[in-house]
Amino acid sequence: MARVLINLPARAKRGQVIEIKTLIAHPMETGYRLDGKGAAIRRDIIKRFVCTYNGEEIFQAELFPAIAANPFIAFCTVATESGELVFSWTDDPGQTQTETRHIAVE
């Protein structure tokens, strides 16, 4: 389980633009480096990040090898109704890390 930091307001007014910031611990190994013995280090990057708001996809990103370790992704959305935001990161070995956060909209 990778370490994750997610920041979004716990409550917001309906129609308000909110900023969501996410940070995940990941080596983002490019696949272009060699180890101490000269063998290629296998590529291991996060390929895809998706955020859904009450089941609806509101943001997604494709990531590439030039992106540094521990990728930080920030984006904005409009607070429409109370509910769940689900964040998921999928990496090269195919593992997906999913985190859920709640927001209360008044």
């Binding site: 370490r3 930091l5 910031k21 940070l23 611990a25 540094a68 370790a69 521990n70 920030a74």
Partner: protein
């Protein structure tokens, strides 16, 4: 002969003081960083060092070793028990009769109280625990002790700081006391105040300890670096903390 020696020592002392930084001229590495890097450090939700602090918080409460004890079982809430602790390290260890740094203190605790294997230098676990403990002192002034027992180590640290070494024949002081603020290739030379360790270095793409930083500098002047935890590196840490006394702790800092 003895008198000659003391005159020579006094002269060296005068020479060293002449090149010393004045307390009011001291600046943290933060001041030399770009606005983007500073913004990253200032915002806890964008500061990647907080990933390690979070991991450290988990480890603090996790039982380990044959004694099946967690740090929290003895020390309780780190927010109160660890407040200001990192600002006093490296500190004198009465049993070892020498100063040890925060990483070594954590590993001593593991060995003696938890009966657990020591954590490897620069391992994610050791960095996380150190960062979590140091984070409790954020904003507090560095306050290493002035004990007479520490004098030997402090003097050794001062001597190493001013001693030229490596194929490039440079001392720490030549860059960090005499040429700070100028550029070494693309980078601004900072004053070398260890205010934010363990810190996140963008170049490393990871958190790293002060020992790692010191070893990097030694490799940079093409000298043979001291081993992790060697008395020489701890003495240098002690001297640097004394030199930065009163400056606020920034852990986890972010640097280029």
């Amino acid at each position: 002969m003895k008198r000659l020696r003391s005159v020579a020592l006094a002269l060296i002392a005068v020479f060293i003081t002449a090149a010393e930084l004045q307390p009011e001229a001291r600046r943290s590495g933060y001041d030399f960083a770009s606005p983007e890097t500073r913004a990253m450090q200032d915002d806890d939700t964008a500061n990647p060092g907080m990933l390690w602090v979070g991991q450290g918080e988990t480890l603090w409460a996790k039982k380990a070793g044959a004694a099946d004890k967690a740090c929290a079982d003895c020390h309780g809430d780190a927010q109160t028990s660890m407040k200001g602790v990192a600002a006093r390290y490296p500190a004198f260890d009465a049993a070892l009769r020498r100063p040890i740094d925060l990483e070594q203190r954590i590993n001593r605790c593991r060995a003696e109280r938890q009966k657990a294997e020591p954590l490897a230098w620069e391992s994610a676990e050791l960095l996380a625990l150190t960062a979590f403990v140091a984070y409790q002192s954020r904003g507090m002034p560095i306050a290493v002790e002035d004990k007479p027992e520490l004098r030997g180590a402090r003097d050794l640290g001062a001597e190493l700081f001013h001693r030229r070494e490596g194929q490039l024949n440079l001392s720490c002081s030549q860059c960090h006391n005499e040429n700070w603020g100028k550029r070494l290739a693309g980078n601004v030379i900072p004053q070398a105040h260890p205010t934010g360790y363990p810190l996140y270095r963008l170049e490393w793409q990871s958190l790293g300890s002060l020992q790692r930083r010191l070893r990097n500098c030694m490799t940079g002047v093409r000298a043979e670096p001291y081993e992790y935890g060697a008395p020489e590196t701890v003495s240098l840490e002690l001297y640097l903390m004394k030199r930065a006394r009163g400056m606020p702790i920034e852990t986890p800092a972010v640097r280029p």
